[in-house]
């Protein structure tokens, strides 16, 4: 018998699917905001901090960039309770996503900072700016403006990687798809619906990030941007 698509049993659970998608959006948004904020602090520490602090940031970034997100998630959710820190699945997911994204974003911002020519800093100091002012206005903002496309694709990859938190039973979009699959036995249809929603969310996020880039960094032309691509978790 040829396979027949039956979307009705899956779509009957639209309330659950909607809630799952909302949780995916919430988790991703929180991770993007917190992870990016952490990345800015880490970049500042790496640029202006003492030598040992730079080393700590470098080790943090390399450790997180060279281990799978899944294992980081397991460390946070299963490993931390052994040390006495007990988190709910959603809290653990948010923490792991934030840590992961902060490391990747720090690395991307580093590329932007390295692309700022040294004469820019000298010009800043000759205008009697303090080193904090030079970092903020001469280094950080132009650097972020240059690498905004790379940051954007990293943020989108985080949205996609958020599906992995269903491994620790978080009921976000892919977790919801698994539940619906086990209830309706329509596995292919369940995941097609979830995939279509991920696709829509990813395209929407790309659009939003493009708009933010346009609004926040109006003076950077497309040609001046540093071309570094994001990497998946």
């Amino acid at each position: 018998m040829p396979f027949q698509f039956q979307f009705a049993p899956v779509l009957a659970q639209w309330g659950m699917i909607f809630d799952g998608a909302i949780l995916t959006v919430k988790l991703s948004a929180a991770a993007i905001v917190l992870g990016f904020a952490a990345a800015i602090l880490l970049s500042a520490a790496r640029s202006m901090g003492p030598r040992w602090l730079r080393l700590v940031v470098d080790v943090y970034v390399e450790l997180l960039r060279n281990t799978p997100f899944l294992i980081q998630l397991f460390m946070v959710f299963f490993g931390l309770p052994e040390l006495g820190v007990r988190l709910t699945a959603v809290q653990a997911a948010m923490l792991a996503m934030t840590l992961n994204l902060s490391a990747y974003s720090t690395e991307i911002v580093r590329a932007g900072i390295e692309s700022i020519h040294h004469s820019q800093l000298e010009a800043g100091y000759s205008l009697a700016l303090t080193s904090r002012q030079v970092f903020q206005h001469v280094v950080l903002v132009p650097a972020v403006a240059k690498v905004w496309p790379a940051l954007s694709s990293q943020f989108v990859l985080m949205l996609l990687a958020s599906s992995i938190v269903s491994f620790i039973s978080v009921q976000e979009l892919s977790g919801t798809a698994a539940v619906i699959e086990s209830r309706s036995f329509r596995s292919f249809e369940s995941y097609i619906v979830a995939t279509a929603i991920y696709l829509a969310l990813a395209l929407l996020l790309k659009l939003v990030l493009f708009g933010i880039g346009r609004a926040a960094f109006p003076r950077v032309s497309g040609l001046a941007r540093v071309q570094t691509k994001g990497e998946s978790a």
């Binding site: 396979f3 390399e62 450790l63 960039r65 060279n66 281990t67 799978p68 997100f69 899944l70 294992i71 980081q72 397991f74 460390m75 299963f78 490993g79 931390l80 309770p81 052994e82 040390l83 020519h117 989108v156 996609l160 990687a161 958020s162 599906s163 992995i164 269903s166 491994f167 892919s174 798809a177 596995s187 292919f188 995941y191 097609i192 979830a194 995939t195 991920y198 696709l199 990813a202 395209l203 790309k206 691509k229 990497e231 998946s232 978790a233």
Partner: protein, 217 residues
């Protein structure tokens, strides 16, 4: 309470072998498809190029986990009964192909256009232009990002544990179910992944430095 002994460690190392094999097969499979997609993407035929763009964009905009599930159930619906290693490789290969296609397209485009014109004026056919003039240069350009992507692939093979294939991440879960020492076990798993990925990351950065030596300020 049991602790991690040599048996557990050899189990982890054995499953590391499976992770590496999975990485190798899916990289080869994805590379083959990705190479074809990259060339289709650069085709002068609008329709062909659009199909390639859609393929890349859609696969890069959905989670690997969904690609995994869909190709798993898709293969089953098509009546194909593949062994777990092969099924997992096919799924990862699809994901790999979209990213490698985009990396390699960029590398091919980075070869100066005059190279095409010069080789065309020597009466080389498009296939010959690719084979003898453009690809040798493009491969050189593509090496650093390709190695960088390999790191992503090694890490993403961990997701395959969800369909029961026992690679490194799954081995860690199984050990943890038996011993319940999550911090040490997943710590050990993380160290093994790090030992594979970190040298590759360094290699990628080194290649980048060597090939771009003239362009740094």
């Amino acid at each position: 309470m049991n602790s991690i002994g040599s048996d557990e460690l050899s189990f982890l190392l054995e499953s590391t072998g499976w992770t590496l094999l999975l990485t190798a097969i899916s990289f080869l499979a994805g590379g083959l498809i990705g190479g074809v997609i990259a060339i289709l993407r650069l085709s002068r035929n609008r329709a062909v190029a659009t199909v390639a763009i859609l393929y890349i964009q859609v696969l890069q905009s959905v989670p690997v986990l969904m690609v995994l599930f869909l190709s798993y159930y898709g293969l089953a619906l098509a009546g194909l009964e593949l062994p777990p290693l092969l099924a997992a490789s096919v799924s990862l290969g699809l994901y790999v192909s979209a990213y490698l296609a985009e990396i390699w397209r960029g590398s091919i485009e980075a070869v100066p256009y005059q190279q095409w014109e010069a080789s065309a004026s020597l009466a080389l056919s498009p296939a010959q232009q690719y084979a003898y003039v453009v690809l040798p240069q493009a491969i050189r350009i593509s090496l650093p990002p390709t190695v960088g992507f390999l790191v992503q692939l090694v890490k993403n093979t961990s997701i395959v544990s969800v369909v029961g294939f026992v690679e490194l991440a799954r081995a860690g879960q199984l050990l943890n179910n038996a011993l319940f020492q999550p911090f040490r076990i997943f710590g050990a798993v993380a160290v093994i992944y790090f030992l594979i990925c970190f040298p590759l990351s360094r290699l990628s950065r080194y290649l980048e430095k060597v090939f771009h030596a003239g362009r740094r300020h």
